[in-house]
């Protein structure tokens, strides 16, 4: 029987954010917004869902006197992405 796909990751925006963060040490909110083309409100909401699931950590601070939000993938997030890609491969019989 095929595994259920992780509902937190099985969404276009959340999956794109997680995949971007997988290839980077950290990324600012502005970068994720630029790369995904999402609206700020929607992206905030999806980042919060990922953060609540423990898949990413969010750090808020200041840079050049402007507020900045920095996102980082966690170990739990990396493991979840690995499990998700394994499940996808099973679906596609790769």
């Amino acid at each position: 029987m095929l595994k259920d796909l992780d509902p937190i990751l099985h969404s276009q925006l959340r999956l794109a954010v997680m995949s971007l963060l997988l290839g980077l040490e950290e990324a600012e909110f502005v970068y994720l917004k630029q790369q995904t083309g999402a609206s700020a409100g929607n992206l905030s909401l999806q980042l919060e869902k990922l953060s609540n699931a423990g898949y990413i950590s969010i750090k808020k601070g200041h840079k050049n006197k402007y507020p900045v939000t920095i996102c980082r993938i966690t170990r739990t997030g990396i493991r979840a992405m690995e499990a998700y890609t394994r499940a996808i491969k099973e679906y596609l019989k790769l």
Partner: protein
């Protein structure tokens, strides 16, 4: 971009595209490799010219200036790039810790050799550490010019121990070119190609 229903193919496509985008983010290491590579090559070459030909005293006396100049330019560049960078590529920390470790080791060795010890030990240690850092960062980031430069630098550092005095400086200059300056220039060119 928000759709809950996706096919496995679409998921895989999103993952692939995002990872490719993230991989286009380049480390800023090329600038520091070129800067310090050029400054140290110049520094060792003027030492070689002085020791070999017994000329160039005035240039030799100005040699120490490469360190504050390099430090200032590095600090200025870091400040400038930190203000605009929105991501931290995955190999940034590897470069930071490898080259930061080299700087720390060289600081300690320079303190000890300035108090007591032969000068050529410092040149040997400097090139050995530079080459090791190039070898490690090149291997981890799969940037093979740096890996190869590191190996060549290690060989040249060993030559410092068996050659006579003026040639220490020539070996050091050649080692800095292959382990630092050349990989820096190639990394810069590779980064430019990635963004083209």
């Amino acid at each position: 971009m928000q759709k809950e229903k996706m096919t496995p193919e679409e998921s895989l496509n999103i993952i692939g595209q995002a990872i490719n985008t993230a991989h286009k983010e380049t480390t800023g290491a090329a600038y520091y490799l070129i800067l310090w590579g050029a400054l140290l090559t110049f520094f060792f070459l003027i030492h070689f010219i002085h020791a070999f030909g017994n000329t160039g005293d005035w240039l030799m006396n100005l040699g120490w200036l490469v360190f504050p100049v390099g430090g200032l330019l590095s600090w200025w560049h870091t400040r400038k790039t930190d203000a605009v960078e929105k991501t931290k590529p995955v190999y940034d920390s590897v470069y930071l810790y490898a080259w930061g470790g080299v700087a720390l080791c060289l600081g300690i060795v320079s303190l000890v050799t300035s108090v007591k010890g032969p000068g050529n030990v410092y040149i040997f240690v400097l090139l050995l550490l530079f080459s090791l850092a190039a070898f490690i960062t090149g291997g981890v980031s799969k940037f093979y010019p740096s890996l190869a430069g590191g190996v060549a630098g290690i060989v040249l550092s060993a030559l410092i121990l068996i050659t006579k005095t003026p040639y220490h400086y020539l070996c050091a200059a050649a080692g800095i070119v292959v382990a630092c300056l050349l990989p820096g220039l190639l990394l810069h060119a590779a980064n430019k190609r990635k963004h083209a």
